[in-house]
C-alpha cells in the first residue's frame, strides 16, 4: 500500500500540510503587526488583476480604446497592478527586516523573490500589449536589451501576438503557480517567530 505513489504523496501531504495547518483558526501570539497584512493584500491585488484581466481578455485587446466600460476595466487592471507592486514591495522589505527566512524558511523567501521577478516580467509584457503609443515606445526601446543578450532571438518584444499570448497565458500561469507554492510553504512552516524570542527555549512560557 505505502509503496503506491499515490499513497506516498497523500501521506507526505497529510504529514506536512494537514488541513488544520492549511486553514488554521489560530495563530501564534506574536502575529500582531500591520506588516502581516501586506502578504494578504498582495494576494488580493493579484486576484483583482486576474479578474479584471479576464474581462479584458473576453473583449479583446482593442476594446478599451473605444469603450468607456472598457477603459474602466482597463483602469481597474492598471491600478490593481500598481497596488500589487506597492503591497509586494512593502511585504518584501517587511520580510527582510523580520529575517523571515529563519528556521527552514529559505524556500518561502526564494519563491517570493522569484514571484517578484516573474511579476515584473508579466507586467512588462502587459505594457507591450497596450496597443497604444506607450507600447510602441516601450517595444522599440526594450528590444535592444533583449537582443543584446540573444534573448530577442526567441522573445521578440515587437511581436504583439507573441507578447499578448505570453501576457495572458504563460506568464500569469507561472506567477500563479509560484504564488500558490509560496503561500502553501508559509502555511506548512508556520509564521516565523520574532527575532530574540528564544527565551521560550529555556522553559519560560511565552
Amino acid at each position: 500500500m505505502s509503496e503506491m505513489w499515490t499513497a506516498k504523496l497523500r501521506n507526505k501531504w497529510q504529514k506536512n500540510l494537514p488541513i488544520e495547518k492549511l486553514l488554521p483558526d489560530d495563530q501564534p501570539a506574536y502575529v500582531v503587526s500591520w506588516i502581516y497584512v501586506f502578504g494578504v493584500l498582495t494576494l488580493a491585488a493579484l486576484a483583482m488583476i486576474i479578474l479584471s484581466g479576464i474581462i479584458l481578455a473576453f473583449e479583446g485587446p482593442a476594446w478599451y480604446h473605444i469603450s468607456d466600460t472598457g477603459l474602466f476595466v482597463n483602469s481597474l487592471h492598471f491600478w490593481s497592478v500598481q497596488m500589487f507592486f506597492v503591497f509586494m514591495v512593502v511585504h518584501l522589505w517587511g520580510k527582510y527586516w523580520m529575517a523571515a527566512w529563519r528556521g527552514n524558511r529559505f524556500r518561502t523567501w526564494a519563491t517570493g523573490a522569484v514571484a517578484f521577478v516573474a511579476s515584473i516580467a508579466t507586467a512588462f509584457t502587459g505594457y507591450l500589449v497596450q496597443t497604444n503609443f506607450d507600447s510602441q515606445w516601450i517595444s522599440f526601446e526594450a528590444k535592444d536589451g533583449f537582443n543584446a543578450m540573444g534573448i530577442g532571438a526567441f522573445f521578440n518584444v515587437t511581436n504583439l501576438g507573441q507578447m499578448l499570448l505570453l501576457h495572458v497565458a504563460f506568464l500569469p500561469l507561472l506567477l500563479g503557480v509560484i504564488t500558490v507554492i509560496h503561500v502553501l510553504m508559509v502555511r506548512r512552516r508556520g509564521v516565523v517567530p520574532p527575532i530574540d524570542a528564544e527565551p521560550l527555549l529555556s522553559g519560560v512560557e511565552r
Binding site: 483583482m48 527566512w101 505594457y127
Partner: protein, 326 residues
C-alpha cells in the same frame, strides 16, 4: 541568556509551542479583497488610466515629410538603424558583447529583415501609382544589385552632405531612388503604409516587428518619446504617458542608465555595450535577491538594525523580551 546558532535554528524551525490567539485568515483575506476592490474602483473612477493613441506612419510623413523621406532613402541604402542593426534581424553588425560573449551574434538571425524590399519595395508594389513611380519601380527591379547599391549609396551620401536638407542636395546619378522615396512618402501620407508594412502581402498578421523597427529609424518616435519624458537616459523607463505612475519597480534597472560608465556610449567596453552589461547586472542582482538568506552580511543586517523591535513591539513588550546585542 545566550543561545547557540543551532539552538536558535531549532527554535525557529520548530512548530510554535507558545501562546496562540484566534485568527480568522479567511475573513482577513475576504476583507483584503474587498478593500483592494474598493480602492481599485475609486482610483479608476477618479483617475482613469493612460491610453495615448499610437503614432502612425501617416502622422510621421505628414508632420515631417523630409525626415520620413530621408529615412526611406536610408532603408534603401542600408544605412538606417534597422539595416545596420545585426541580430536578430540581419548580419550587418556583430551586435553587443559582454567580454568574450557575443550572445547577440550567436543567437543568429531569427527575425530576418530586409529593409529595402520589406520596408520600401514590397509596400510600394501594393499600390496603384503614378507612371513616374511605376517606372522607377520597374527600373529598380530590373537593375543589378551593384547598380542599386551605387544609386542608393550615392544619394544617401549626397543627403548626408546636405545635412538632410533635401533642397540643398546636388543633382546626381541617383537612378530611381528619389522617385521610390517620394512614392513611399506619398503612400505614407495617404495612410496606406502602416497596414502594408504589417501585412507584407498576407492576410493574418500578429507581428509588428517591421513596423516598429522602421518607425524607430526616423526622428518622429524619438521626438515623441522625448516630449512624453520617456527617454531612458532620464529615467524614462519608469515613466508613463500622461500623469500616471509608470513601472516604478524598474527603478534599479533604470538607475544604471543614469550613471557612468553605462551612460557613456564612448566608454569601452561597458558604456558601448550598456544594454548587455545592465541586463547581466540585473540578472545577477535578481539572483542576489533570491539568495539574500545565505549572503553573509546582508542576511544578518536585520538582526543588527532593530527594525524588528518595531514590527513585533506589542509581543516584545507584553513578554518583556529585551533586545540582545549581536
Amino acid at each position: 541568556m545566550t543561545f547557540s546558532k543551532e539552538a536558535k535554528h531549532a527554535f525557529d524551525a520548530a512548530p510554535w509551542a507558545g501562546k496562540t490567539k484566534r485568527y480568522d485568515i479567511v475573513k482577513e483575506g475576504s476583507i483584503a479583497v474587498a478593500l483592494v476592490a474598493i480602492a481599485a474602483i475609486v482610483l479608476s473612477l477618479v483617475m482613469g488610466s493612460p491610453d495615448e493613441k499610437p503614432l502612425t506612419f501617416k502622422g510621421w510623413a505628414v508632420s515631417n515629410a523630409d525626415n520620413f523621406y530621408v529615412t526611406a532613402v536610408q532603408e534603401i541604402a542600408g544605412t538606417s538603424g534597422s539595416a545596420t542593426y545585426g541580430g536578430p534581424y540581419n548580419k550587418a553588425s556583430d551586435g553587443l558583447n559582454v567580454g568574450p560573449f557575443w550572445l547577440q551574434k550567436w543567437a543568429g538571425v531569427t527575425h530576418p529583415i530586409d529593409t529595402v524590399n520589406e520596408f520600401v519595395i514590397a509596400p510600394l508594389s501594393t499600390q496603384v501609382m503614378s507612371t513616374e513611380i511605376a517606372s522607377a519601380l520597374a527600373t529598380w527591379k530590373a537593375a543589378s544589385d551593384s547598380q542599386k547599391q551605387t544609386w542608393a549609396a550615392t544619394y544617401d551620401d549626397a543627403i548626408t552632405k546636405a545635412d538632410g536638407k533635401l533642397a540643398d542636395v546636388a543633382a546626381g546619378a541617383y537612378g530611381p531612388v528619389p522617385a521610390l522615396a517620394q512614392g513611399l512618402t506619398d503612400m505614407a501620407k495617404g495612410g496606406a503604409l502602416d497596414a502594408a508594412l504589417l501585412s507584407q502581402g498576407g492576410f493574418f498578421q500578429t507581428d509588428n516587428t517591421k513596423q516598429i523597427l522602421f518607425f524607430g529609424d526616423g526622428s518622429y518616435l524619438d521626438d515623441a518619446g522625448t516630449t512624453a519624458n520617456l527617454q531612458g537616459g532620464t529615467w524614462g523607463m519608469m515613466n508613463e504617458t500622461g500623469r500616471y505612475p509608470g513601472q516604478a519597480w524598474l527603478w534599479l534597472y533604470s538607475f544604471w542608465y543614469q550613471i557612468p560608465p553605462f551612460n557613456n556610449e564612448e566608454s569601452k567596453p561597458i558604456g558601448a555595450n550598456a544594454d548587455a552589461y545592465i541586463m547581466v547586472l540585473m540578472g545577477l542582482l535578481s539572483l542576489g535577491l533570491i539568495l539574500i538568506p545565505v549572503i553573509p552580511g546582508i542576511k544578518s543586517l536585520p538582526m543588527r538594525i532593530p527594525i524588528h523591535r518595531g514590527i513585533w513591539r506589542q509581543y516584545y513588550d507584553a513578554n518583556g523580551i529585551k533586545r540582545r546585542k549581536k
